[in-house]
Structures are given as C-alpha cells and as structure tokens.
C-alpha cells in the first residue's frame, strides 16, 4: 500500500474510533440521538469497537512506517481524528455519527482486503 493510501486509511480508522469513544459518553450520545439513556452493553460495544478501530489503525501505521515511526504517526492520526470528531460533533452530531459509521466499516473492509491481497492464497 502506498504511503498516501495507508495515511488515508489510518485517518479513516482513527476518526471512526474516536467517534465511537465520543458516542460512548453520555453528553455526546444525547447530542447525537436525543435519548438520555444508553444501556451498559451498548456503551461497552461502542468502546470495544472504537478500540478495535484504533488498534487496526496502529497496525496500518506500524506496517507502513516501521514500529518507531509508526507509533509517532498513529498518535498524529489519533489527534487529527479526535479534532475532526470534536469539531463535527459540535456542528452536526448526526452527520458525525453517520460519517463515522461509514468510515469505520469502509476502513475495516479496506484493511481486511489489503491483508488478504498481500498474503498469498
């Protein structure tokens, strides 16, 4: 995967992951859905999904850039993703949720595809 493609993928994944962490917080959940209550299971599922997305993003970074530089880049993408989430959630929370969901699914698919393409059949 080219440097540009892996950068885009890493950012997509961290954006979705940080959005998941954001959604799992009561005050932001209210902003996005209007509902006050979130079941503990739902919160846990959101947080676990977010962790998976962030870890996959870390894998994309370290695979493309080596372990040292990969961690530095990942922290950068986490910051960028978080800033996007904070900005978008304050402006249009539902749009943030929708884009995060699409990003998360698309990102994971892209990751799985590139993994299966690089491993010989």
């Amino acid at each position: 995967m080219s440097l540009l493609a892996s950068s885009m993928l890493a950012l997509t994944l961290t954006y979705a992951g940080m959005a998941g962490l954001c959604m799992a917080m009561d005050r932001h959940y209210v902003q996005a859905t209007g509902r006050q209550e979130m079941t503990p299971f739902y919160r846990l599922a959101l947080r676990l999904s977010a962790c998976v997305l962030l870890l996959v993003s870390l894998q994309v970074c370290t695979h493309g850039l080596g372990s040292g530089v990969g961690w530095v880049a990942w922290l950068g993408y986490v910051t960028a993703g978080a800033l996007l989430v904070a900005g978008l959630w304050a402006w249009r929370p539902r749009l943030a949720v929708a884009t995060a969901a699409v990003s998360g699914i698309a990102g994971l698919l892209a990751f799985v595809l590139t993994c299966s393409l690089s491993t010989p059949a």
């Binding site: 440097l3 540009l4 950068s7 940080m18 962490l21 954001c22 917080m25 005050r27 932001h28 850039l65 080596g66 040292g68 530089v69 530095v72 880049a73 922290l75 950068g76 993408y77 910051t79 960028a80 978080a82 800033l83 989430v85 904070a86 900005g87 959630w89 304050a90 402006w91």
Partner: protein, 560 residues
C-alpha cells in the same frame, strides 16, 4: 503583612489545582504572544521547501533544466580518482591541518569534489577541485538572483531565534521551558480532562473560548509536550552546559572536546609518530560494503600521524528516511592499517543510547521521519498548538471584559487595554505580517540590492503597523479590521501571483507543481478561516446593536 493597594498575587495559594491554575494563567498569558509567533512560524517552517519554491519562480526553469540534464554526458571521474586528487591536494597544501574532510561525489557518484579543513579560528574552510583533473577551481561567489529572498528560511529562522542570533535563541528556549510549565500546570488544573475530551459548545461566549482552548490543547497534548521538549534539547548543552563544563574542563575548548568524544568515540590524540596517509579508495569500498550506502564524506582525523583515524559517512536515501527514527547516516571508522574501529548502520544507535535518543528527538522536531503525511500531521498539530495559545490569550480577556478581576490594582484597566492590543497584534497581526511577506516577494522590484532584507523589513514593518492599529482602534473594531485584511491578503494571493508572474494556480496544478499550488491553496484556506472569524465578529456586533448588552468600556470612546 500590611495591607497594600495591590491585592495579594495569589501565587502558590490554595490547593494544588488552584496554585496550578494561577501558574497556568500567568505563565500562559505573558508568553502566549511570543509562543503564538514561534508556533505559527514553526508550523509554516514545516513547508519551508514549498514556500521557498513559490517565492523563487525564476528558479523553476533552472530546477527543471537540472532535473532534465541527469545523467551527465561528460566523463565522470571515478570515486577512487576523486579521493586520490583530494588526498594529494590536502597533502600538498594543508599537510599540517589536524582534520581533512573530503566530499568526493553526490549519491550517484557524480557532481562536485570538495575538500574542507578547520582554519585558525576553528571555522570550516573549503576548496573545490575539478573532479577530472584534480586542479583547484576558484570558488565563485553565488550568483545573486534577481528575486533575492530568504524564502521559507525566514520562517525557520524566526521560529528558532527570532532573527536575533544567540539572544533570540535563548529567548525562544526560555519560552519553550515556560510552555512546558504551562502544559503541566494546565493538565493538573483541568478537572474534567476526560469528561470534556470532545466537548466544544459554540456560541456561548467565555464558555466556548474555554472549550476551544481545552479541546485543541488536550487532543494534541502528546505533540505539544514532544515539540516543546525536542525544541529545547535540540541544542541541550548550549542551554545547560554544567555537565560539559564539569567533566571536560571549563575552558574554551571544553565543548569541542565533548563533541569530539561524542561523535568520534575512541579517537586518540596525536602520537607524534609520522605515518603517511594511505590510499583512501580501499577504505571507501570497505565502508560501502559494511554500511550499505554510497560515500558522502571521508574525514581524516590526525592525518599523517600514527593515530590517524579514517571515517567514512554515507548518503541517506530519502525513501529510507520515512521509516527511520533517526536520520543519522551510516558511518564506518578505520585505523590506518584498515582495521575497523566502529560501525554505525544508517539510522542506527551504535554511537550510544544517549546519542541515538538525542538524534531521534532532533529528527522528530525537524519532521525528518514519516515523509509527507507526517509533515501534514505536524502542520495540523502545530496549528492546534498555535490555536491553543491564541484561544488562551483571548480567553484571558474575554473573562475579564465581563468582570475585571483587578489583579493590577488601580492600573488594571490600562493593563487590560494593553493586553487586548497585544492579543490583536500577536494573533491577527502576526498572521498578516506572514502573508504580507509573501506579497512583498511578488511586489518588491526585482534586481534590487538587499532585496531579501527588504522583504524582512516588510514583515516586521507590517507587524509593527498592526500593533499601532491595535492600540489606536477599539479592540472589537481592530479585530474585525485585521481579520478582514488577513482574509483579503490570503484569498487574493493566487490572483497576486497571476498578475505579477506569468504563472497562476491552474497552470501550477496542470503541470503538477503541487508545491506552489499547495502554498496558494493553503493560503486560501487560511483566508476563508479569517473571513469566517471576521463575519462572526460582525454578527456579534449587529446582535449587540439590536439588543443592548453590558456597557463596553474602552478608552478611545469608540463604541463597538
């Protein structure tokens, strides 16, 4: 203590959070203007290359020609030949020097042949030799270009020493230490750091400014700590020489002895026993095999002595730098009999953990790793840091516009007025000065003497004018006017380029000149942001006119 007019300062009172809040407020405020400038120019310095490229349009044709003319058609002397010429030249003319440095060729084995040594003041001196004949060539003074400019280097220089030499360097370093104090005190005092992680509530006045300050700071916190610390330890022993002075003597040569030991461990002093300098090519070939890079330079310490040491340095491949933490090149050190004394693989840590750490820290600060995406990430995080300082300074005054906290006794109102003016000039004003520098590059007449200095004068002059403007106008008006000026200058940059050169944005994009196009497009984005800020202020002014709010005191009598 007797009661005085001035209330107690509040330093180190109350619990830990309160004491840290006090420290954060005042460290933050007094250094916010300087740090804003350091951070904005530092962020721009990430793209020093593209900015310089945009600022030297006459150079583009030369760059294209240079790219097209590779590979060279003239006979290219071999490395062995070049090293022999250099060695003979140095033996003939600089036999007594204690260090010979030879740069035989570029990474492809062609290019110039240059030799260096230290003169009486221990400064670098050099000579250029013809690679095909070994004859010394006159070093011509560099051609003065028609469009004399510092280019993007201005932002780099301003960033690390304010164009102020050693004094400027120290000022920036002190500011960086204060920034670390502000970062730690800010984290300690921030009660709900995780709860408020993503919280930004717009259109709520002081609350919004605090939210903005918290969000940009906390979300980029790893970067902020890293960039401040790496900025200082870039030249750590300059600021904290005690270790060097204690262990290497406190005379003038101590620092040199330290750096020699750090970079050439195991280098023995001269023995006094003469030994002729051996042929250099076998050393070069052996080094290339050990470190896997073409030869960049060969350094001979104590040439002609039995304790001579021959070190070979490699050329880094730009592609490899993306994945390496350290940008140090390969290096192999030999004794004159060919024995290998020391091998450092490219990007390696063979010199020692501390050296490796220091090189990694410097490389981090200089965005030497991670390629172009990392530069954009650093640019974004640098702007987040810039915003952190800007929102902090504005928040200080927004809070006190509502209700004076009387920190300065009877002089409080005047001090507040001064802070308002400094906020405007340091934030909007500096940004205007930066874009004005680019405008000066296009508008100043070509082929003028000291043109580069004139561009700098425009930068500082415009900045000074924004300060005067900020003092003369009411704060709200000054903010609005400067933001509009900033928006106009940033948005019209591509138009300026089109009118003053025979190039324009569409042409740049169509020929793939993304460096120039990037500068102009980024400028337009900044313009849009500035315009949006000006419109928000305008909307607030209109809302205030329609329904009166608190009376707004200002000393010029101009009502907002």
């Amino acid at each position: 203590m007797r009661a005085t007019h001035t209330p107690d300062t509040g330093a180190a009172t109350g619990g830990l959070r309160q004491a840290m809040a006090w420290l954060h407020t005042w460290c933050g405020l007094w250094f916010s203007w300087l740090l804003f400038a350091v951070f904005l120019t530092g962020s721009l310095a990430v793209f020093e290359g593209p900015i310089t490229h945009w600022m030297t349009p006459e150079h583009h044709a030369e760059e294209e020609a240079a790219r097209a003319s590779l590979p060279a058609t003239a006979p290219v002397a071999s490395r062995a030949q070049r090293l022999a010429y250099a060695s003979n030249y140095m033996a003939q003319h600089h036999r007594s020097k204690d260090m010979w440095e030879i740069w035989p060729a570029d990474a492809e084995g062609g290019g110039e042949l240059k030799v260096y040594w230290f003169d009486e003041q221990h400064l670098y001196a050099q000579a250029k030799l013809d690679a095909n004949t070994g004859a010394p060539q006159p070093l011509l003074p560099p051609k003065v270009p028609a469009r004399g400019t510092l280019g993007g280097q201005h932002f780099v220089d301003f960033h690390y020493n304010l164009h102020g030499g050693t004094l400027g360097l120290w000022i920036v370093a002190i500011a960086a230490m204060v920034m670390l104090v502000a970062l730690v005190s800010g984290v300690i005092t921030h009660k709900r750091i995780f709860k408020d992680f993503f919280t930004f509530r717009p259109k709520k006045g002081q609350r919004s400014w605090l939210d903005a300050h918290n969000v940009v700071a906390v979300l980029s916190l790893p970067f902020q700590f890293m960039i401040a610390y790496t900025g200082i330890v870039f030249t750590a022993t300059t600021y904290l020489p005690a270790g060097v002075l204690a262990h290497y003597g406190n005379d003038a040569g101590a620092h040199l002895r330290y750096t020699t030991e750090l970079t050439a461990p195991g280098l023995q002093p001269r023995s006094g026993i003469p030994l002729p300098v051996p042929a250099l090519e076998p050393f070069a070939a052996h080094a290339v095999a050990l470190m896997g890079q073409p030869v960049r330079a060969m350094v001979l310490d104590h040439p002609g002595d039995a304790n001579m040491r021959i070190s070979v340095y490699g050329w880094n491949d730009q592609k490899d730098l993306v994945r390496r933490m350290s940008d140090s090149t390969g290096m192999v050190a030999f004794a004159p009999n060919g024995e290998v004394l020391h091998v450092r693989l490219p990007g390696g840590s063979a010199d020692g953990v501390a050296s490796f750490t220091s090189q990694v820290l410097s490389n981090l600060h200089m965005t030497g790793l991670g390629g172009l995406p990392m530069k954009w990430l650093f640019f974004l995080c640098g702007l987040a840091g810039t915003a952190m300082m800007g929102t902090g300074a504005v928040l200080f005054m927004v809070k006190r516009r509502n209700k004076s906290l009387n920190e300065f006794g009877p002089r409080t109102a005047s001090v507040y007025r001064g802070i308002e003016a400094l906020n405007i000039a340091a934030i909007a004003g500096l940004a205007i000065a930066c874009i004005a520098y680019l405008w000066a590059n296009r508008l100043l007449p070509l082929a003028t003497e000291e043109r580069a200095v004139m561009e700098l004068q425009v930068f500082f002059g415009v900045w000074l004018i924004t300060l005067v403007h900020a003092c003369a106008r009411a704060p709200q008006s000054a903010w609005r006017e400067q933001l509009w000026a900033l928006a106009a200058l940033c948005l019209l940059l591509p138009l300026l380029n089109g009118l003053t050169t025979d190039d324009h944005l569409i042409a740049e994009v169509s020929r793939g000149d993304w460096e120039s196009a990037g500068v102009e497009l980024t400028s337009m984005v900044f313009g849009l942001l500035a315009g949006w800020g000006a419109m928000l202020l305008r909307a607030r002014r209109l809302a205030q006119r329609r329904g009166s709010t608190y009376p707004h005191r200002d000393l010029t009598g101009d009502t907002p």
